[in-house]
């Protein structure tokens, strides 16, 4: 097991290095650089000589290989460099933006998972009943509808109703978890769609398996069959999808952050792209990739716990 974890860790490091290198190459290919974007403005009145000096200060005039070695070296030492746009250390900017994104991700993901689980449970429980079958079909259609709703519209409506009409949560002056509650729940609805779809499809597949009939014939109640047998069996495929979904929100939700005026990673990324702030962009890419890698790693550890047939022990046997 230890050896397995160690090889997985090496894989993760390799993926991170790959993402770092690839992003460096792609950002190099972009025409111009941040120094030019910032200082070439004619209103600043800088002479070409002065701009060249600036570029030399930031190291932008050196060859790509030297720059790469330099950037990789300082990143390995934990120094993410300085933002050209603001002059602040990138680490400090991330430190300011990341908590908001993390909170938003946790709230919206938990909400989405709960929403998906409730949809799925209702769809299964109701489908056994002749009248409930129509209701179950209606619930089955919900993810298709919610996935089609534009996020910004849903969020504006949420602000209108919850904050202005019902006056439940104020729009401004919030901090910490309370600031992400409404945006998180609003974001949860569209992102629950893929989760609910996969969850319901998996649950219906499990429900049709012979062992469910065997359980019924044994006198086990429908509710118990649902929570002790159908849901645990339907969880592994849902987990795979939720890893992807969670990773995506961790990388920042630009639209939600804009609508609610939150300063998260999404905002930071958007500004960095606009000003070609390479150091900031690279740091954000690194953070997102490490988020994905660790989520993938986590779900790989959880999968065998949920389904004993997968995982290392299973691979050695004939299944």
């Amino acid at each position: 097991m230890i050896r397995y974890l160690f090889t997985r860790f090496l894989h993760a490091l390799f993926v991170l290095w790959g993402a770092f290198t690839l992003s460096f190459v792609l950002l190099q290919v972009m025409p111009g650089d941040a120094v030019l974007v910032k200082f070439q403005d004619p209103e600043l009145g800088l002479s070409p000589q002065q701009i060249a000096d600036m570029r030399a200060t930031y190291g932008a005039d050196e060859s790509a290989i030297t720059q790469y070695a330099h950037v990789l070296g300082r990143t390995l030492h934990g120094n993410l460099g300085y933002s050209i746009e603001t002059g602040l250390p990138v680490g400090q900017m991330l430190h300011a933006a990341y908590p908001t994104t993390l909170r938003l991700a946790i709230v919206s993901f938990t909400g989405a998972l709960a929403f998906a689980a409730i949809c799925c449970a209702l769809a299964i429980l109701l489908s056994g009943n002749p009248v409930g079958r129509y209701l179950a079909a209606a619930i089955g259609a919900i993810p298709g509808i919610t996935s089609g709703i534009p996020v910004f519209w849903l969020e504006i409506v949420a602000i209108q109703l919850v904050s202005f009409h019902w006056k439940l949560i104020p729009v401004v002056g919030l901090s910490g978890w309370s600031a992400v509650l409404l945006p998180g729940l609003a974001l949860a609805i569209p992102i629950s769609a893929p989760l609910a779809q996969v969850f319901m499809a998996a649950a219906h597949r499990v429900e049709a398996l012979p062992f469910i009939d065997v359980l019924r014939a044994r006198g086990v109640s429908p509710l118990r069959i649902l929570y002790a047998h159908i849901l645990p069996n339907a969880l592994p495929p849902t987990l795979t999808v939720s890893g992807l979904v969670f990773g995506e929100i961790l990388a920042g939700a630009v639209v939600t952050e804009t609508v609610f005026g939150l300063d998260g990673l999404g905002q930071l990324a958007q500004q960095a792209v606009a000003s070609q702030d390479v150091a900031v962009l690279q740091a954000i890419i690194l953070i997102s990739v490490s988020g994905f890698v660790s989520i993938g790693f986590a779900s790989e550890i959880i999968q065998p716990l949920l389904d004993p047939r997968i995982g290392r022990s299973a691979r050695q046997r004939k299944y």
Binding site: R133, D213, L215, R218
Partner: protein, 544 residues
């Protein structure tokens, strides 16, 4: 005085699908007494599974009981609510399901599932020491070794026979007076089948449980059951004591069912005429061996070793082996899908592993393969015509008129009506689809047919028809067969020679009559003794 455990009176059940109704059971009446074992025999579509489900109250939503009643003990359960059913299921009636591989929850331990069977209405399980002790006692009673250790294992870690024992343990957990056993052995190897049947007999003797034994296999029904009910198209055409059903069947349908049983088939594979010289061997296999690389602990697992046999032209070699015996590996070598590490194969004088390109394609045409489940080997969206036409179109040697003629010819050979050509493959019955599979194999004018369990999925009457067809095709076209089956009675009927595989080794090889009359190894003796129905066959009766 025996009391009645199950009483069914004039039961009518119908299915509604897309507005049309289909009558599955028609005025069915049955009685089952305490400690009695009644076999409910019927072919697919006869309604036997519907009856089993109705008795357990787990009919699908589109089925409805229109008439009649079902009593379990003193309870009328005909129109019971789901909640009331839960008080009966498990306690008064239990199910032993058909397919042990899919009848246990794959993600929960054996212990958790047994605990649930013992106390379905309570949560918190094995933590209670008495539940744990009871679960261990149940597994022990089922003859499972190291029962305490099994509780922590998952279903995929157990063999098929062991899983079925766990399911039987779960069924008797609350000591129900009645058990519905729905084809409990049809997914198991013959030798395991014997063990499970013996276990059911013990239960009946020791607990006095009544068993409704649902099966398609009349031969299996002849063993250990007290009475047999024969179900045909939703109607019970005959119910009689087992001995009487076999000695004096009353209805024509029962007579035909018995006549179609391969065990009772009087003429074994046509004995080769001694006056004609033995035809040349078309298949020669010498010292064949194959091992799979093990992923861990740098070792090899021998899938098979030292397999040697020859098959003369126009004869049949029957290959018998239980799961894990290496027969699949052997077939894959013969088809040239994998290259053996040791030994040689000669098919029609050529080694498939040495051939490439056009020569290999020509040989593959001459050696055709027919698979167990015809519905899986065809693309279900294809029409029967398209399924037959496809290989001809790919070979690019025929114009449409020639193709049509070839197809008509093979259809005639396999006795399949050309009117079926327009149907989707998925709409064909099992027998029709298997004939289509044979037709497709015959299109290339092969010399060798490799038949892998081709009749295992079929009802006895259809099985008998297909076997007769195979015999006739062999006679008319001089085909050579390799016929793989787990069913010794089928092997006995069709094969001239038999090869018995066990754990990848060839443990017996010889003339069919010789192997069946004088088996050399204990394993073969055991296999022959495991054939259900032999004891009640006419031959056995004559000997005694």
């Amino acid at each position: 005085m025996t009391q009645t455990c199950l009483s069914i009176r004039d039961l009518d059940i119908s299915y509604t699908r897309h507005g049309s109704t289909h009558q599955a059971l028609n005025h069915v009446s049955l009685d089952l007494h305490a400690g009695e074992m009644l076999a409910l025999v019927g072919e697919s579509g006869s309604g036997k599974s519907t009856l089993g489900r109705a008795v357990l109250g787990i009919l699908p939503p589109n089925a409805s009981v229109q008439h009649g009643s079902i009593h379990i003990g003193a309870h009328n359960v005909t129109h019971l609510s789901e909640r009331a059913w839960r008080q009966i299921r498990g306690k008064k009636i239990a199910l032993i399901p058909q397919d042990p591989a899919h009848s246990l929850d794959p993600v929960r331990t054996i212990g958790a599932q047994l605990a649930e069977a013992l106390r379905p209405h309570q949560s918190s399980f094995l933590k209670r020491s008495n539940t744990r002790a009871e679960a261990i006692a149940l597994l022990d009673q089922m003859g499972i070794s190291r029962p305490a250790q099994r509780l922590g294992q998952y279903p995929h870690e157990l063999s098929g026979g062991m899983r079925q024992r766990v399911l039987i343990a779960a069924a008797i957990a609350q000591r129900p007076a009645l058990i519905v056993a729905d084809e409990p052995t049809s997914a198991l190897d013959v030798s395991v089948q014997v063990q499970i049947m013996a276990l059911l007999a013990t239960l009946r003797r020791e607990l006095g449980t009544a068993i409704l034994f649902i099966t398609h296999d009349l031969a299996l029904a002849s063993e250990q059951t007290d009475r047999v009910s024969v179900l045909n198209h939703g109607v019970i055409c005959e119910t009689a004591p087992t001995r009487q059903i076999f000695s004096a069947p009353k209805t024509a349908y029962t007579q035909r069912l018995i006549a179609n049983l391969p065990v009772f088939h009087q003429t074994p594979a046509s004995v080769p005429d001694l006056r004609t010289p033995t035809p040349p061997d078309v298949i020669k296999v010498t010292n064949l061996g194959y091992s799979y690389a093990q992923t861990t602990r740098s070792g090899y697992r021998h899938a098979m070793q030292n397999i040697t046999f020859t098959v003369p032209k126009g004869r049949t070699l029957g290959i018998v082996g239980e799961s894990g015996s290496g027969k699949t590996t052997l077939l894959r070598c013969l088809l040239g899908l994998i290259t053996p590490q040791a030994g040689t194969i000669e098919l029609l004088g050529q080694d498939p592993s040495r051939l490439k390109g056009q020569a290999l394609r020509t040989l593959r045409c001459k050696v055709q393969f027919v698979y167990q489940n015809p519905h899986v080997s065809f693309d279900p969206r294809y029409s029967a015509l398209k399924a037959l036409e496809e290989p001809l179109i790919n070979s690019e040697q025929h114009n449409p008129a020639q193709r049509r003629k070839l197809i008509d010819d093979v259809l005639q050979k396999v006795r399949l009506s050309p009117t079926l050509l327009a149907r989707k493959v998925s709409a064909l019955s099992g027998g029709q689809a298997q004939r289509l599979a044979l037709a497709r194999a015959l299109l290339c004018q092969p010399e060798i047919l490799i038949l892998d369990e081709v009749v295992s999925a079929l009802d006895v009457s259809i099985q008998s028809e297909i076997l007769t067809l195979l015999e006739n095709l062999q006679k008319d076209l001089g085909l050579t067969y390799i016929f793989v089956s787990h069913d010794l009675s089928v092997i006995k009927r069709l094969s001239h020679e038999v090869l018995i595989l066990k754990n990848g080794e060839q443990i017996e090889y010889g003339k069919t009559e010789q192997i069946f009359s004088k088996p050399m190894t204990d394993y073969t003796k055991h296999l022959i003794a495991s054939i259900p129905g032999l004891t009640s066959s006419p031959q056995a009766a004559e000997h005694s």
